[in-house]
Amino acid sequence: MPLDLLWEAVVFGVLLGCFYAAVSIGLSVSFGLLDVPHVAHPAIMVLGSYCTWMLASRGLDPVLAGVVLMPAFFLLGMAVYRFYFETFEKRGSDAGVRGIAFFFGLALIVEVGLILGFGVDQRMVEAAYIGKSLSIGDMQLPMRTLVVSGVAVLLTLLLTLYMSKTFMGRAIKAVAQDESALRLMGANPVRVKQWAFGIATAVAALSGAMLIVVGPVDPGLDRVYIGRTFAVVVLAGLGSMTGTVAAGLVLGVSESLVLAAPDLGASWAPAVSFALLLIVLGVRPQGLFGR
């Protein structure tokens, strides 16, 4: 591959990676920290994309729409976690299989619900920054990818600050490591986890908005993103926020390179995240920065 094409693929991969990190942060909290087998996370994200589309059709800027959706999704997340906890985590043995099956069923319901509500065709949004490109040297960087990467970096920063500076944020990190210590501090672990899951779901809403900014969405998109988000979270190491960024970059660049490679290209690209996932699981399951 000629050098400038390689370079362009890498740069694009970095931008893509920031995006993947942003869409995976929600899962990093719900699965990485809280150990919830949340295979429905990408489906909720796509739900967020469609809600964004509905708001954007009324003239609202898509990223803003994502932010507007966050409170509602926060409440949704809290409700889902409460239900999950009461039904499964409390009961112990065999809850593992049923818990996983529950989220699988949820993902199915969301995906088919979207098909029934919106049809299988792709939906897109329009904004000032969609369709334009920024020229840097010989490279054309799509504006929308830049915007999304920017939001991603901001989101990661805000979340990391929240986790380290606020009481609730620190409680969330603590509950992942030592529940009994948290109880001694006077905090209720279930409430903390519920709050965290709410945050993760709110983040998923914003991720969904970014999803539809970056490209058209259809109800089946969650299937590709299961691979991407879990690959990022596992590669990062469960519970590591900063690891999510590094892992996102690894995935983004890998996918971009495969996409640009002359013999491989688009028919192999969807498998990259899944292959990466398997490699990480086989070689270093605790990921880069795992606890």
């Binding site: 295979v39 043995s93 299989v97 996983i100 099956a101 299961i226 028919s267 996932l277």
Partner: protein
């Protein structure tokens, strides 16, 4: 003993149907139900007995189907050999999945199976000998006497496979193997302390599950005279294999069978009268409802309805 009598009756009934029934659709529906019985039974060995959720039924099923197709294309091998080869490759894939992830928590195994499905599909999309993205046309050989149509023969083959897989599941369930798997599911630590070689047993369950799913996929290319990646690796197989035992009941071999019957029938009715999407929605809702409210499945509800005196 009653089981074997029942099994014999079932096989004879299948043969009789093949001889007497003229209605084509019957064999199409019947083949599908029997196939899902095999898939659900296989799934339950790993999911119900050992407690490991497999999302990747299409990976094993599809690998089995493609193995059969490729072997047939290359060597015109008979169906029996195709099925054996399919079971072998899919069993090995199961072993691979297990080796990669069974030391970790169950959710990692589950996600790895999703990854395998996508990777398998991608491999076959890009393999020209197997037809690539457009698929492969296959010419069926003549059916083996006394069968007059190949479809009817496949129907009986699938009936035999269903009985065989149920017999295998039943044997595992009642034997020391089943106890070991259940011990692993209930408390892996206590199982190890009681001498159960947990990793080996889990790998065994993975292999058996994969092999049975591959075998179930093997007659597919012959059935359709055609194979292509998108429909072969279809999500519906994953849904059917998982939802059937979870709705029917995971504790014994009968649960997946009941679940497969119920879901296949529902699928036929809803898909034909409303839409395929509605069918998936109904299955999804049923899955969530049963998992939440009736964890022992239809079989469990039945037992409770019959009263505590029944075993």
């Amino acid at each position: 003993m009653r089981f074997w009598i029942g099994a014999g009756v079932a096989v004879l009934a299948a043969v009789a149907m093949a001889a007497l029934v003229k209605y084509e659709y019957f064999f199409f529906a019947g083949y599908t139900v029997l196939m899902f019985i095999v898939l659900a039974t296989a799934w339950n060995i790993l999911g119900g007995y050992a407690g490991y959720v497999n999302f990747g039924t299409p990976a094993f099923f599809g690998l089995g189907a493609y193995t059969a197709a490729v072997i047939y294309k290359a060597t015109a091998a008979p169906l029996v050999l195709q099925i054996a080869a399919a079971a072998l490759t899919a069993g090995l894939l199961g072993l691979l999945a297990g080796v990669l992830t069974l030391r970790l928590r169950g959710i990692f195994f589950a996600i790895a199976t999703i990854a395998l499905t996508v990777i398998m599909q991608t491999v076959f999309i890009n393999w020209r000998f197997a037809g690539g993205a457009t698929g492969l046309q296959l010419l069926r050989p003549a059916p083996i006497a006394p069968f007059e149509s190949y479809i009817k023969m496949l129907f009986v083959v699938m009936a035999l496979m269903a009985v065989a897989s149920i017999a295998l599941a039943r044997y595992i369930e009642r034997s020391w193997l089943g106890r070991g798997l259940r011990a692993i599911r209930d408390s892996e630590e206590a199982a190890e302390a009681s001498g159960v070689p947990t990793l080996k047993l889990k790998l065994f369950a993975c292999c058996v599950c994969g092999a049975l799913m591959g075998a179930a996929g093997a007659p597919m290319p012959m059935y359709l005279s055609y194979i292509e990646p998108e429909s072969t690796f279809n999500l519906n197989y994953a849904i059917g294999a998982l939802a059937s035992p979870m709705i029917g009941g995971t504790a014994t071999w009968a649960g997946p069978v009941i679940g497969a019957f119920v879901l296949s029938s529902l699928q036929q009715i809803i898909t034909v009268t409303i839409s395929n999407e509605m069918n998936v929605l109904v299955v999804g809702v049923l899955l969530v409802v049963f998992v939440v409210a009736a964890p022992e499945g239809i079989l469990g509800l039945f037992k409770r309805w019959l009263g505590p005196s029944s075993k």
